[in-house]
């Protein structure tokens, strides 16, 4: 317990630092210059109704590329790390899942997939976007795994989707250099009419790619974890 109390003291110290950090904090009342710029100019520059989307995909597109990469990395590592060869695949024993879950999943999974697709297609208009949509799709698939543990599902398909979407994301970025003023530039397509589905340049396309990619990657992770599942 001496150790824990010591840890407690240290954390107190850390807390003190954090309190100092926000000593000057009194809820901001105005947007910072950059934020204001996004809010006011965002429409004509990017043309996406969802400002967050315009920041995520366009202004800070490189970050997005990065986070996609991170997910990709984790998926790749986990896939390599938890790879199971058939020898220890034989003696896996899995619990029997309930009837209700099975039936419900059969109803729910398609709807979830559909909803996910909707969310990332409309990412630039309404709350949501590629990551959210991808997460929803993945959770749908996870639900399927839970419902039918025995069901085998190969990584091949997932990998293909991953790679295709990823590569085309990069290619879009390069297209930005070639046809517009910079990497990941939004204006290689016309911004279109504000507020419609086909607007805001390549944002919808990117978000679709991101959605697919995130979905497949999360699924891949879940799948690798599932394959290691063993309740013996």
């Amino acid at each position: 317990m001496v150790k824990n109390s010591f840890i407690f003291l240290v954390l107190i110290g850390l807390a003190a630092i954090l309190l100092n950090l926000f000593a000057g904090f009194n809820g901001s009342t105005e947007l910072g210059t950059i934020a204001a710029h996004y809010a006011s100019k965002g429409i004509e520059e990017v043309g996406s109704a969802n400002l967050v989307t315009s920041v995520v995909v366009s202004y800070r597109g490189l970050d997005t590329l990065g986070e996609v990469t991170i997910l990709f990395l984790s998926a790749a590592i986990i896939g390599f790390f938890l790879k199971v060869d058939n020898t220890d695949n034989k003696n896996r024993q899995l619990k029997y899942t309930s009837e209700i879950l099975n039936t419900a999943s059969q109803v729910l999974v398609p709807i979830m997939l559909l909803f996910g697709a909707y969310v990332f297609i409309n990412g630039h208009l309404s709350p949501g976007g590629g990551f959210q949509g991808g997460a929803i799709i993945a959770s749908g698939l996870v639900l399927m795994f839970i419902a039918q543990p025995k069901k085998e599902m190969g990584h091949k398909m997932i990998n293909i989707v991953e790679s295709v979407s990823g590569v085309s994301f990069v290619l879009l970025g390069v297209a930005g250099i070639l046809f517009a003023s910079g990497f990941l530039d939004n204006k290689i397509l016309s911004l279109g009419k504000f507020g419609t589905l086909f607007s805001a340049g390549i944002i919808p396309i990117i978000y679709i790619l991101v959605g697919l990619k995130v979905g497949s990657e999360l699924t891949g992770i879940a799948l690798s974890l599932k394959e290691n599942q063993n309740e013996a």
């Binding site: 954090l18 809010a39 991170i70 984790s74």
Partner: protein, 123 residues
């Protein structure tokens, strides 16, 4: 009572969650619980981020019927922290997933979830 605004509360909660997460990370012996501690720590940071971006009685940064696009800069909250938190969440997710897979592997090798059994290398 004046300065107890929404941000301050959420900020305080965020810091609290950070500390709780660290406490779990540092004191728990069970690997899974350590990972949970880390996840809490991460979440706390996310709460802090969001609460920083918030501005009193303004709405989400989405231009729709509720927001006049010419006066947007006075109606919406700061979109940047939200964008950042999105990225941060994904990164946290990736790391957590990695941690869990590590735990899984470690458990498969040693059949133990106690971190004190994993001092293979030291000094």
């Amino acid at each position: 009572m004046e300065n107890i605004t929404l941000q301050n509360i959420s900020l305080a909660i965020g810091i609290l969650v950070i500390l709780i997460g660290l406490w779990g990370l540092l004191t728990q012996k069970n690997l899974i619980k350590i990972v949970i501690g880390f996840a809490l720590f991460d979440t706390g940071i996310h709460i802090v981020m969001v609460s920083i971006g918030y501005i009193k009685n303004r709405t989400a940064p989405i231009i729709d019927s509720a927001v006049d696009m010419n006066n947007a800069s006075n109606l919406v909250v700061d979109p940047i922290p939200q964008a950042l938190v999105l990225t941060a969440i994904v990164i946290g997710l990736g790391i957590t997933a990695l941690m869990l897979s590590y735990v899984l592997k470690m458990y498969q090798k040693k059949k133990s979830l106690d971190i004190t059994n994993y001092k293979d290398l030291k000094w």
